[in-house]
């Protein structure tokens, strides 16, 4: 009896998972790319390497960071989310109409912000419900919710731009703490919160597991559907906050507050290593991606690349960065679709 048991133990020890070389390289790729891109721009442009420009880059990354955190949870799950423009628009107009503004006599201050974020979470929840109850693929469900959000925003907009007069909300973009705008600190708070949720909460861990192997999770007795809805709701709340932040920056509620953020956030997430296949990457990866994209946008202007070239150059660098990030995966027999 003893000898087979000993043999088993030996086998188990031999199979103990060893960290693969590729794993560490995959995680290190995007940060290395960030450092390289930063270094290249710093060498080329004296304006780029100033402290005030670094502050500027961090401030500019704030809104994209919050949107990307939201979208990262959905991507980790292996779904896709295109609802950011609509949800941000709805939230931007809502908050602009609820805090002190030029359209009505509301002055709800913080409550107004909370209502806008809740509304956004509700819209996110709608995407999730359409996905799990009606079995609408996330691509279509979220595209539909985006249209609903834009429709809602257009109705509330009613032809007159709401400009905000709330000192707190306006102050978020203007006032600084330790050299960074309040909005940037809010974004940093979101990164921390997102990371904690991903790392320590059941929601975050299941999101990862769903993206990795949903069937295995379901077969082991986990009811997956509620977690999917919760992830979309959480993402919606982040988009809502981002919409509020755009409103603070522009001092006005715009229907188009979130235009283009869906694809820039997906780009940032993927560049950072949160892949569309799900189950990989995470909040910190995506944050690196956001910084990479923002540094790129800023650096190309600082270096003085002609605006006619910038779009193309930016696209090339992004593709190169993603290619570099997935090289370790290409070594294994992984299919790229």
């Amino acid at each position: 009896m003893t000898s087979p048991a000993e043999a088993d133990t030996e086998v188990v020890q031999a199979r103990r998972p060893q960290p693969r070389r590729g794993v560490s390289l995959r995680d290190a790729g995007p940060p290395i790319a960030l450092v390289v891109v930063f270094g290249v721009f710093a060498a080329l442009s004296p304006g780029f390497r100033t402290l005030s420009n670094v502050q500027n880059v961090l401030d500019a990354a704030a809104v994209l960071a919050v949107v990307t955190i939201g979208i990262s949870f959905v991507l980790m799950m292996g779904s896709i989310d295109l609802s950011a423009p609509g949800i941000m628009g709805a939230s931007a107009i809502t908050v602009a109409l609820l805090v002190a503004n030029n359209r009505n006599d509301n002055d709800l201050g913080f409550v107004g912000i909370a209502v806008a974020v809740l509304l956004a979470a509700g819209l996110g929840c709608l995407s999730g419900l359409a996905l799990v109850l009606l079995k609408v693929p996330s691509f279509m469900a979220t595209l539909g919710v985006s249209a609903v959000g834009l429709g809602l925003a257009t109705l509330l907009f009613a032809g007159v731009q709401p400009n905000i007069a709330d000192p707190m909300l306006e102050g978020w973009a203007v006032e600084r703490f330790l050299g960074l705008a309040h909005l940037t600190w809010i974004a940093l708070g979101c990164v921390l919160l997102g990371w904690l949720v991903q790392r320590y909460s059941r929601l975050g861990r299941y999101a990862f597991a769903i993206g990795g192997a949903e069937e295995v999770l379901a077969l082991s007795g986990v009811r997956v559907a509620p977690y999917k809805v919760a992830v979309f709701t959480l993402a919606g709340a982040f988009y809502g906050l981002a919409g509020v932040m755009v409103t603070s920056q522009l001092s006005a509620g715009l229907v188009q507050a979130g235009r283009g953020y869906d694809f820039s956030a997906i780009t940032a997430a993927v560049v950072g290593g949160t892949l569309l296949t799900g189950g990989r990457g995470g909040i910190l990866h995506s944050t690196v991606g956001v910084l990479l994209v923002t540094v790129l946008t800023n650096g190309l202007v600082q270096v003085g690349v002609s605006p006619y070239w910038q779009g193309g150059v930016q696209g090339l660098i992004v593709v190169a960065a993603v290619a570099a990030a997935v090289i370790p995966q290409r070594r294994r027999n992984q299919v790229t679709k």
């Binding site: 304006g47 100033t50 005030s52 420009n53 500027n56 401030d59 500019a60 925003a153 257009t154 907009f157 032809g159 007159v160 731009q161 400009n163 973009a173 203007v174 705008a181 755009v246 920056q249 522009l250 001092s251 006005a252 715009l254 229907v255 188009q256 507050a257 235009r259 946008t297 800023n298 202007v301 600082q302 003085g304 605006p307 006619y308 910038q310």
Partner: protein, 363 residues
Amino acid sequence: MKFTSRPTAAVLGVALAAAALTGCTETAAGGGAAGGDVASGACDPADVTLVGQVRNESNPYEASWLDGGDAFAEQVGLTQERLTYDGDSTRQQEQISQLLAGDTECLVMNILPNGDSDTPPIVEGAEAAGAYLVTQWNKPADLNVADYDSWLSHITYDGVESGRQIGDALAEAIGGSGGIVALQGILDTGAAKDRFAGLEESLAGNPDVELLDDQTANFSRAEALEVTKTLLTKHGDDIKGIWAANDDMALGALEALQQAGRDDVAVVGIDAVPDALTAIEEGTMTATVSSDGPWQGGIGLAIGYCVATGELAVEDIAADDRAWFAEQFLIQQDNVADFVSPETSEADFACDNLFSRSQGAIS
């Protein structure tokens, strides 16, 4: 591959040539046939249907355009059908097809085509159905209004002129010398190109004004905010003025200036959106240019209405008035009050006064 593809290419080539030839014949035939339908122009004023179509009402300028259309309709005792297509070319064409499938005998359409390439199908459709059409802003340069009978007129604005006007106003505001930066619109649009060409003309006339940098912010307020912040860190106090190809970008630039604590920079834009007018009133913005949206909404319907009711014959519209630049207005602090709540005047829409704002034919 080479041998199989050659015959294919030949067949394709022949097919294409045939299609092109058929296309030409069809156009010619369509133009001739529809002429008979349109020449009548004897609608009872009460039977005229007025339609105004713009991208969306969430854009204050386009909303004011439709309001101007309503004002004209009220003036002649009718109502205007307000259509919006959310900047979606397909939806625009669907709406037009639906309109043209109905009763088109006394249909008057004042249309803002989504882009240059959206104009030809609208024109062909209106011509075939005999509906009276006026288009504004977008038209391919080689599409000639005079070749059609139903397409009464195309109105647009000289972007070079507006770009130059605000360029000059900016130069004057910074005392004739100093550095400026330019925020361009979507680079592959005619509006962005023309307006920037206007700035270059203005710079040629103001040799002491230096263009430090030009970037694109795609006509977007949010993008202009980020780009301006970056330009402010790049050029710092050298920036005395910001030239923006539209007001949305100018307003984004104003936010960036406020966040950077700069109040010594002059900002100019184009379009005269309400927020820009407020900023000019308050003195934070220097100048903008107005195309007079309500007038645009009214004038297109007025031209169609006058032709439909027979007060104006298509043949009597001068060749120069078939495709023309309309007058635009430079707005600064001294005259901003006149534009804050723009109103249309009945005299502008009288049948003998329709083309009074013409600045000349589109060359």
